[in-house]
Subunit: 191 residues, 2 copies
């Protein structure tokens, strides 16, 4: 039997994305977002959903660009901090001791110390309710050289991306490999 938990935003896993943007004075800001993901293969796009009250919201409206940074487990404390305070009140990167790097593709900064960044150009803005969804075309994905194998495939043992678990209120690392996609289901197909 299933138990009803009500109309709540609960799904697993959700990502831990750090959104990079510039304010009107050119100050780099970052905020944490778990509401988002990939939303189109051609053109390659990612969506993120933010409240209008965030500092990042207005930055993205102004600059039509953002980065999605993927922090490793080691910097979970910084990723969490970026979701606790507003860029209106603090220079978050400076306080966390992390470094903004200007993207050469979009008018947005990324975080040097995070091992992966996705650079996005805003192409759609959808008003949903409390959250506004931004859809951005992916112009490039950059990964630390140490976290890419010889075939150019990201190495998750080095990247150590995290998942956020709503309602549970915790971050988790990725765990054991369950199987190969587009392969482990073939046994059923061939029945």
């Amino acid at each position: 039997m299933k138990k009803s938990l009500g109309a709540k935003t609960i799904a697993y896993p959700t990502p831990v994305f750090i959104i990079g943007s510039y304010d009107p004075e050119g100050k780099a800001n970052v905020m944490t977002a778990a509401w988002g993901g990939i939303c189109c293969s051609k053109p390659p796009c990612m969506c993120i959903a933010l409240r209008k009250a965030t500092y990042t919201y207005q930055n993205i409206i102004n600059k039509k660009a953002y980065t999605i940074n993927i922090p490793s487990e080691e910097l979970a404390y910084a990723a969490d901090y970026f979701g606790i305070v507003s860029g209106k009140d603090e220079d978050k990167l400076s306080k966390a001791g992390l470094t903004a790097v200007k993207s050469d593709l979009v008018d947005a900064p990324y975080v040097k110390e995070f091992p992966m960044v996705i650079e996005c150009k805003l192409i759609h803005t959808i008003e949903i309710g409390l959250h506004t969804q931004f859809i951005g075309e992916i112009l490039d994905v950059k990964v630390d050289e140490s976290a890419v194998d010889s075939k150019g495939i990201p190495n998750l043992d080095v990247l150590k991306p995290m998942a956020y678990a709503p309602e549970v209120g915790k971050y988790f690392g990725l765990g054991r490999e369950v199987g190969a996609a587009f392969k482990m289901g073939k046994e059923i197909k061939e029945r």
Copy 2:
């Protein structure tokens, strides 16, 4: 130094969602989708992105409803199968030996053997490119009683949700707890 991987759909983690829908004859269909996530808190909403060529696409257009099922690791092989074949060609649930249950809230089926389901009513359709994004309002979240603790919080050790890793092409379980959200970053705030 960061290495450029190009304009590709790479982000970690992405979810393993099984989308439930009814075809015009009332046959339950399921497909796997990793392009999706939560996209609004009020109203609570989730988005999924599908290609128009999928059987599910037309089902959702017709019924204006879908479910998002979250499979556990044990049923990874079925989740993978649901992404390999089309409901146009096979009765996927029957072939996998799984059971469709009609939602009492929306005109869509969910999968009894998967421990969690999110029932969604279509509220927005956004044409992006190869993929169309459906935004659905969450009407309820249902979880197996065995996977909810005494406080009504999902127990991830029982749910065992998976993450899909694009480019790597593998499914992973969730791993060790990294820390508590909205807590572990407070140390930086208080600096």
